[in-house]
């Protein structure tokens, strides 16, 4: 998901919020009343069930949908980019050149990509809260909660039938739902355009509109080495997205902070976001300058650089929102309303303490921010090899513990996913590892101080650069077989290992775990506080609201319409013709250059085909790759971005100018047929393949 800078959003905030197209709704609590009142549409349980099961989550951070009975999955190019990067090598740059498998046999399995389809949802709030006793301190409460959640998840999971269960914390801790997923672990690449087409306009156009991006990518899920048969999948709309039409977006928004207290928002504004941006600036410069040295360097750094730039632009825009006094004043007024109710309504007795408790937790978390980020988030050890080492070290320790006492990521039901990551055949480049590790060790020393005892031990009397070289050239963890051996060898193998990266991970782990413990305890305090605040909210507004985003499946809705920007009307859609015009306007210079195929096949294209469009649906990072569907649950578009005015949606919804940006459904088969000679794929998408088969069978 991508996004940036807002200014005139302020006036929008003063408009009445009633009946806005706001909300990332739970599939088990859809906004039926709102939809009926505003749009006269009432989604049936069957409609919801079908859309839910047609949607998939890309576990590496995006959304997608089934678009054929044969397991075809549609998402964004920038969601598929991680796989494209990992399948590429010195000879094949699929990220840059694109990819098309004309037969199933040519489809390439992604090294570590997994997809999740949400089968069922069950409320387990009472079950989770039952284990928390009044006499427990936050640390004890956290342990008890972790244990019960691990138990619930284990009971509902079954790796043989690919069922993976997750207890999701909603409303920051007011509710717990059990989500049971069908996981797909064999995901293969079918089609990707050139990155230059998918991301035409590059960083400058990212989070902007009008746009001209074919940000699409297709995968196929497999079962037993054959394409999976899919019951619920989305049909392709004949007419595509129409102006002023009611549409829905089904996807997995990653994280919002709309219910956050002022204390939390201030923390994000004053410390959290600026500190993250500082790291992003540093990484962007590191990757850009190293990438400029050669084409091959640029290829190796490409995916990571894209992610860094994307986050940087999104966070920058969000921070400008937090620094906007008008937005914060609105937030403050809302909090005052809730706190007043908490203090005065007898039924809410005791809830008013939630705010100071949450504020206290922010302070404790802030006091550990640097060390936590450097050690546990591993910003001081930016290296794939270190990540592997830490997984190995922790897996050995955690697997020796009872399930309920393990770190979340190592509970029984999650181990298959850990193994997929650990045994991934993704290429690891020594020079790139040295670059990232050297710079991050330097950052570690800057952040924690030269004379910090742990820093001195990490550096082993060397400069950061020398130390990084020694670690990367000395470790054997680049070899999957070595990792497998260590994983299977358990604690003993780890303790006896002479591998320098394993030893480094072991050196850092005690303090890193201690910090995680501190932060998780504070998060427990937050959760309990937010559960109280939710009680206040529910008392005032009823339960017909939606929780903050949690990278789980949600339903958003809205209409397809343009907006006003600096006094100018921005139309709701663009066309292929606009793409060529924009490229010409920039003399075809990067990032506004067209790939060869688009130049050569220009005349074949119907220039009036709608290309991108905007709608008011409430989305955020993680929604990338979400299908845009109409009332008949047909695909009319594919979400890939938000405009610059949407960057504030992390904290507050506005529909005056904020828009979700999508690829128009009609652009996809048109480009597949005319530019990429991919008629089979276009047929499969649009249902013509089935129609043809049926017709052939009928003859």
């Amino acid at each position: 998901m991508k996004r940036c800078i807002l200014t005139l959003v302020v006036t929008a905030l003063l408009a009445p919020a009633a009946c806005a197209d706001e909300g990332m709704w739970l599939f088990n609590a859809p906004p039926r009343k709102l939809l009926k009142e505003k749009y006269g549409f009432d989604p049936t349980p069957q409609w919801l069930h079908h859309v839910q099961r047609s949607s998939v989550r890309f576990d590496n951070g995006g959304s997608g949908s089934f678009v054929s009975a044969d397991g075809l999955v549609m998402t964004n190019h920038h969601v598929g980019a991680d796989c494209l990067q990992k399948l590429s090598d010195e000879q094949h740059n699929y990220l840059k050149e694109g990819f098309y498998a004309r037969t199933h046999a040519e489809e390439r399995r992604c090294p570590d990509l997994t997809l999740s389809m949400l089968l069922d949802i069950k409320d387990v709030t009472d079950q989770v809260n039952a284990v928390i006793k009044p006499e427990m301190n936050p640390q004890q409460a956290f342990s008890a909660r972790r244990a019960v959640i691990s138990r619930i998840e284990k009971e509902a999971s079954n790796s043989k039938t690919h069922l993976f269960a997750n207890v999701i914390t909603l409303y920051q801790g007011a509710k717990y739902n059990l989500y049971v997923y069908r996981k797909y672990l064999d995901v293969r690449l079918v089609f990707a355009p050139e990155q230059q087409t998918a991301f035409f306009g590059g960083d400058p156009d990212n989070f902007e509109y009008p746009r001209y991006d074919l940000d699409i990518c297709f995968f196929r899920v497999y079962e037993n080495d054959t394409p999976a048969h899919i019951k619920d999948y989305l049909r392709w709309s004949k007419n595509g997205a129409q102006k002023d039409e009611l549409i829905f977006v089904s996807g997995n928004p990653g994280r919002t902070d709309r219910l956050d207290t002022m204390a939390r928002l201030r923390y994000l504004r004053d410390d959290g976001v600026p500190y993250l941006l500082e790291r992003l600036y540093r990484l962007e410069v590191l990757l850009t300058s190293w990438g400029a040295r050669s084409e091959e360097n640029a290829r190796r750094a490409r995916e990571l650089l894209f992610g860094v730039q994307n986050s940087r632009k999104a966070r920058y825009g969000g921070l400008l929102g937090l620094m906007n006094p008008a937005i914060m004043a609105k937030k403050l007024a809302e909090e005052a309303r809730l706190r007043h109710a908490a203090e005065t309504m007898p039924a809410l007795k005791g809830t008013a303490a939630a705010w100071p408790r949450i504020a206290g937790a922010q302070k404790v978390m802030f006091s550990h921010l640097r060390r936590f980020t450097m050690l546990e988030t591993a910003a001081g050890f930016n290296s794939t090899l270190f990540r592997m080492a830490r997984i190995l070290v922790r897996a050995a320790e955690e697997k020796a513990k009872p399930n309920g006492q393990r770190l979340r990521e190592f509970v029984e039901s999650n181990l298959p996913l850990v193994e997929i990551q650990l045994f991934s055949k993704e290429p690891i480049y020594t020079d790139f590892e040295e670059l990232k590790l050297s710079d991050s060790l330097m950052y570690l020393e800057e952040q924690l101080g030269h004379s910090d005892p742990l820093v001195r031990k990490v550096m082993a009397d060397k400069s950061p650069q020398e130390r990084a070289t020694e670690l990367v050239r000395g470790t054997r963890l680049g070899d999957v077989a070595v990792r497998r051996q260590l994983y299977e060898g358990g604690l003993k193998a780890i303790e006896e290992s002479q591998d320098p990266m394993i030893q480094l991970a072991r050196l850092v782990d005690p303090e890193s775990r201690k910090l995680r413990d501190i932060i998780e305890t504070q998060q427990e305090i937050e959760r309990q506080g937010y559960a109280q605040i939710a009680k206040v909210k529910f008392a005032l507004e009823g339960t017909s609201t939606y929780p903050d985003a949690t990278f789980t499946l949600r339903l958003s809705f809205g209409t397809i319409k343009g907006y006003e920007q600096l006094g100018q009307h921005v139309p709701f859609e663009t066309h292929f013709a606009g793409l060529y015009k924009r490229a010409e306007g920039h003399h075809n210079l990067p990032p506004f250059d067209l790939p060869r195929r688009w130049v050569e096949n220009k005349d074949k294209l119907d220039m009036s085909t709608p290309f991108n469009f905007v709608c008011t649906a409430d989305i955020i990072g993680g929604n990338s790759g979400s299908p845009v569907i109409n009332k008949d649950a047909e695909v009319v578009g594919l979400i890939f971005d938000g405009n610059i005015q949407s960057l504030v949606l992390d904290y507050i919804y506005t529909e005056k100018e904020a828009r979700a940006v999508a690829v128009h459904s009609q652009a996809i088969p048109e480009a597949l047929r005319k530019i990429y000679d991919a008629n089979d794929l276009a047929d499969e998408l649009t249902g013509q393949r089935h129609a043809q088969r049926a017709a052939r069978a009928g003859r």
Copy 2:
């Protein structure tokens, strides 16, 4: 000056330092003994006088030399870049395309460039120190010192005869010398190649070797609207730089920290340099992403971006040096030796207190680092218009005071230079100003905190972006006439001004000045401490040493020779042929692409012409544009860079791998004639123009 990352320098540090080519020597204390012993060469007073007066300082941060009797000045392209940027507009991009004036009439005057030729040096240490009484506290001492220095400078200056005097603090405060300069205020652009040629290889190749850069630029100084007649100028060598030859570099190294105490070095390593790098990363991302939006944006941001990238790479390499335990151990041993002497030698009684006093000053300075950087260094107000506003506000206040009490930059003898800056016709772009100011106001809020009272006043209840827009669009300071009016109107005009940028500068000024006062007081403590340490050093080593660099004229020496890098020998010189080979190796992709002229005129070039070379001379940022001369004071090259191993020279000299990088003298006329059809300029340089004239006159 440009430079990066060292690793193997450590071993070099263990080699004996005796008789190394170390030193940035004062012209009034040249290393005659050392030169005689090592090279059997003894520069005469006439030789020194001639070289000194043939050298010029580019006051905006570089070095240069007179290379003809008609005022022709040679420097680097990246030193001239500031003027090239300011002379360019939407229609003319001289920075990118280059410039050549075929006649004097076509030479273009730089908006605010001034050059300084060092006429005379006089020791005024006793005179300066005489005003410091034992009973004075550091603040009083600073005021007294400032007053006497301003008086000495005023007495020795004469703006009518273009004499500008500066008292230079040497050995961090052990000595004071009066430097009397002849200033040239009318400097005109004669020739510049394309930036792509001057900076071939871009950021990746910056501070690296082998290199292929024609980093040259020519100016001409004028008097009374005609080319100045120059008595002392450097002749062109017939043979150019030869392997193993003794050479000299006469230029203005900007700043080194070799005499710094451990307390100071630790401060730089732990706080000073990381904090500066953080700002540079932020600026680089800001300028790069904005520049990517259009060619015109890129043009506007070009010069600033180059400076930011150049500093970032240099500082990064320097910081890696400070983080190298071997280097710091050597520094520590040296300090221990001095401290031991201070504590034990009777003649040095009292000097041992210097170290803790300097350490104390570091602590105080660190405690004000953020606020000082944001307010007084104006990192929170990154805008040319704000800079103009501050000059106006302060000039009005300072000019009303007696000369001795003014801030350094506003004493009588400096006012003509202030006016040149203030009335510069450099273009100021509204969009670029908004970009920089918006981002820096955001940074201000991040750094000083949202609720800081001054920050709240600065923001005036707006978001940083809204506030920047309001300030930039509201101010009239973009107009030189408005600035002149305000300057001439004095205090009254400033106080009555409704200009929002003037009002902002006034708002910030009281606290900003207070911070400056604090820092300058600590610097006085440092100076007094270093004077004591210098006493210790002189007692142990005699006075035959050189002070840290102060952006004043120094003489370095060395030999032309290659070095070993990672087990490979790096030859001392490159040739034109190598340039074409390197461009081909990178498929002519930026930053390894050749300008059109170089492609079209390739066949005319003698490919075996030496292009760049390295030598052991001790240089640093500020030396850019320094001539490399032989024993006969003839030009054999032009310094433009140091290699990556030289980035540690800020703190410690090493000649094992660290090298200065220069353009070979023979490459310059060859390129001028064959690529640029600039025979007249080549003739003037090489003395053939005079020879032709003489020949013609003789006929």
